[in-house]
Subunit: 368 residues, 4 copies
């Protein structure tokens, strides 16, 4: 099933080498100013062919808004956004049907769909569908804007290179597009870039981490238990191809710590707002926003399509066969994943926003 | 909202200090042998008071099956399982309403629910609700049994101590209950135990990691995109209090690797089955099971309730105030989280199983 | 699956002769004053044994609120309401397993659940589960109260006797409890009562119609298409056992009319409100409330459990066998269905209310 | 929200005068032969301009399958079907924004969407969206084909003319397309045709009833309570514009009957199958199919767009104003609603089929 969200509901469709890919967004309040100009710049950040760090495939990725918008405003009807495919070279994938590529979904997909799935370019498994997350996120952001919620992601690790620094949304925005690797730490970015080019030169690929910061979230959004903000984000993040890990705040480093080292004590700031002195918990406690920045990190595996020969199996003959993946692939998908992670965060938080509007208490207890 | 699952639907309810906690499970096929005896042993593993490593609170945690089972078999009707509360000491939590405990949901929950949420013992945020995951998991396992799916989790890190070894389900089962810390590596377990006792002695707490292995999964369960096995597991795992990180297979280590180092090449084993030589991807590709063991790890933060004094704020007066959490708390929740993680894995995989039964292809393509 | 509603989510469980029946309600905003006293009076209206018109079974139907309420207010956690069973005489149903009762679910249920369903008293198919709709409705009404929404139903037909009159909520409330048949037209009520007593004397049963009026609904609640107010009500109404028809406004009489005879022209009343001169459409256009009273009617079939001998089949032997249903059954369920229909209307409209809070436009267009 | 179904999920989108209308269908098993040729004939039955009984608007209604189908088979990915708009005359609707048409959604929609909804041709409220039900139904039928499930609807009442006869699927199919009114009783059809032409001549419109028969359903599909077959059908049927009533089997006539007159006694037919001698219940008991034909009837109101002048209100000025709806409207939508009702039945039953595959008992009890 291909729908994310309870109220702000995002349904993906399309294939890498079919007519196109797109997204149907339901649960969009009427009257939100929205147009192609809100989506295209974000899509352009995800689009291939931007630098040597990414695939040299050229895809225009022009969004068309087909429904749900009239005279520059959402109408309350479902919003359909489409990108038509152009210039696919299906022959690059000719071997897929019987020789499954290691690390790709070819083999399990064949079993799952009885062999009927569209094998061209990964079909519905293609990373191309992440354009849908970007489109839905662009619409979601228009809802978040009314609450001052700001989302920014950047690359914090590529292979052996990581930035030790933390950044605010403003800092990320200032520098992130100055480097093709999309890391806000420009020194680290330089080294990361080198790391990718080396992998590329070796016909190999390399993984990395994207960190996402959300500022401006009010206290008290989200739900405990099944619809915790972490749960909703995690569900959506792991729907993005190539994601293999997710952590909030200190994440896995919590496992190494004592309680007294991981405490976020409260204080009142000059403006009278309740804040915490540290933010180990990454802005969420009990599934609910604390008013501190939401911080999470996503681990991406190295692209599985590498030109290094790999041993695999011809399922038709049952015989081992080497496979050398040809075609134009990303030596590292992480730079292009940055706007995707932002898109996912936005769509999930728009859903949280709508849930909050529905379920917030109508009255506040007086006694505190 | 408090429901997990599309078909095998698990709804949690209850509070730490109210009448009790429980779970309503819908989407249970009729005719599955099921009784208290399937649930109670798993609950006993989660229950407090088992060793010095855990809280000294005594909770009987006796499950009662109130509906959906007749003469030892599920009837197809929703299954309600209840645990009545007994022996709570609410006074331990007396300070909660105006002095929010750092690291707990007190403050954001107050904002979320306008102050109306049940503050006693964390109310609906209590770790006590994880008994529900265990109960639902016990029922789910009866569905998985028919397919030979086996789930086992154990502790792989406590603070600075981690086991470097990997284990099979059989290996975990053989040793996990021999140590109160529930680590299958008995040498590491010893050191982990010591780590917890030291934290306890310091009136502090410590975090850790639980690893879960699922064997016997067929190839081709799950969905691409929004309902990937990773997405469904992640959604449910992050609904468990104190979870802050999740990774599949190599997880965050993928970020440091090249594609050629992270490849899972296919081969045919002696029995003629398609297998991969490595299992970096942890048994899932494109959201779908590969037939290799499913492997994931969950990071738990150290218990926030520590007797070490922490600075915080009295929201009633606006003044800073120190807080020393009293009551009987776990110095480390990780040992008790082991059966919870298993329960979550089981309930999610039962849902995946039912989805597969519904959506599997009715016919298989001939040409491969 | 046993859950109704998108946000205000009502899950039914229980069996006629098991431990009890109950309802889990999720999506309840915190801070709503709520207690047993809000539910019990409505339950008492549905409970058997009120007059000769209904079954002589005595069921106490005492509600217990097990979670989600603290110090007289909802907490935002799921609300579990339970009724424990008492005094069931299962032997009355002894023949059920192999001799299916005509008009009951015995036979299709056996096929659906492979024979594992609880056969005692209809199990999960029992009309006893309609107590759940009443309980959920009582909670829903507390949400509706804040908007001035008022729901009242009454009997408008029993067998050959129908009232030709229409009533307001106030009129229904004034008279409906003065007659055991629950018809606001006291003259017709007399004749309806007679109709039921005659059926009873003949060891037979009789069907009828319940009409429901909702006043105080604002303009603009609901959705077009899949979540029209009519769709949501219809879904929930047809989940009530014995319902076989539903119509809104003029309903089936529309089929006999011309457009010019079925028009609801707009005017502005003295208070300046937009109203329609007629209300053929029953308060809904395009799935959305018009501000006029919502009007719908539900057809109930005669109780299938009749003491008149009926031919049926012994599925064990394959032989025809006569069946004379014993036990204490309602000669007409319609009077007891009145509070059930109200309960369903309430729970659905509470869901519509929450959806509206989430999806309403944040800004209104100026130009009209 | 615009999605119907739990597993076979149908999401509608589009507007009457925008780019087009379409449907996204998720939950489609892979490997089902499917193409434009399966959809277009059904669409052609719904399309305007077929006879004098319907609107003279000419809409080509050419379906394009944009995703989810590859080489003539479904792939398991979501299926997007689109119809592009052509030849709309928006000026016909110029008055809509401030002068709400009686019987249309203009006024409540304006309130619901804050005036932002697309007013051209009813926007998302347009009957044009029923093409989506037809498209989704055509795909659903391919799933039903494998089980021998056959759906046929026809007109049973237009204004004062009704057929007293009942028909089988085969009988309906034989005659229904021989008459523009789509009534299987050719004598009644003649009179119905006349009824519509008279309404047309009077610049008026007329309502009617569509009856739908489903044969070939096995025993035991569906669920009790919230997901009864009646509930799911009712939800979807009332999402179709202009539906105001729905009944199953004897429907509202049950209200006039005694239990002994409404009994469906079981017998075993020559082929050894369990059948009922009558079918008052229309093939469903307790929400579950009985193996007898499913029978339901839908009441449609007369088209609200009539050229007879109607008094209404100019919302901009607050003054009364007469309204004479111009444009090319159906004097009776019932003939075109026939394939829509079939489409809805098909999509719902495909969902029921998938739910059954998921939730059916894995084992059958021996003792009967």
């Amino acid at each position: 099933m291909n729908t994310l969200g309870r109220l702000f509901r995002v349904s993906l469709f399309g294939e890498s080498h079919g007519h196109g890919v797109g997204v149907l967004v339901d649960g969009v309040p009427a009257g939100i100013p929205f147009g192609v100009e809100d989506v295209q710049p974000e899509l352009d950040r995800r689009r291939p062919g931007q630098s040597l760090l990414t695939t040299q495939r050229q895809e225009g990725d022009r969004v068309e808004i087909q429904s749900g918008v009239h005279e520059g405003r959402t109408t309350g009807a479902p919003v359909l956004m489409l990108i038509r495919n152009e210039g696919q070279r299906s022959q690059d994938y000719a071997k897929a049907p019987t020789v499954p590529r290691p690390g790709h979904s070819d083999y399990p997909a064949r079993e799952r769909f009885g062999g009927w799935n569209d094998p061209r370019g990964g079909g519905m498994f293609s990373g191309r569908l992440t354009a849908c997350h970007v489109m839905a996120g662009a619409l979601a952001q228009k809802l978040l804007d009314a609450h001052g919620v700001q989302v920014a992601a950047h690359t914090t690790r590529i292979g052996s290179i990581a930035t030790p620094r933390t950044f605010t949304v403003a800092q990320i925005r200032e520098t992130v597009e100055r480097t093709p690797v999309r890391c806000a730490d420009l020194d680290a970015a330089k080294a990361m870039e080198e790391e990718i080019l080396q992998a590329r030169a070796a016909k190999d690929s390399v993984g990395g981490i994207v960190e996402c910061i959300v500022e401006g979230l009010p206290v008290g959004w989200g739900e405990p238990n099944a619809d915790s903000v972490e749960s909703l984000l995690a569900h959506a993040i792991f729907s993005v191809p190539a994601t293999k890990g997710l952590e909030f705040g200190d994440g896995f480093r919590f496992a190494e710590r004592r309680g007294s080292e991981a405490s976020d004590p409260y204080y009142r700031d000059e403006a009278g707002r309740v804040r915490t002195r540290a933010n180990h918990n990454g802005g969420i406690l009990g599934g609910i926003t604390t008013g501190m920045p939401l911080v999470f990190r996503v681990a991406f595996k190295p692209t599985s399509s590498i030109a290094v020969p790999q041993p695999t199996l011809d399922l038709a003959t049952g015989e081992p066969t080497p496979l050398q993946v040809t075609g134009r692939h990303d030596p590292c998908i992480v730079p292009r994943a940055v706007p995707v992670v932002e898109g996912v965060a936005r769509m999930v938080l728009a859903d949280v926003l709508l849930m909050h509007a529905a379920l917030r208490p109508r009255e506040v207890k007086r006694e505190w």
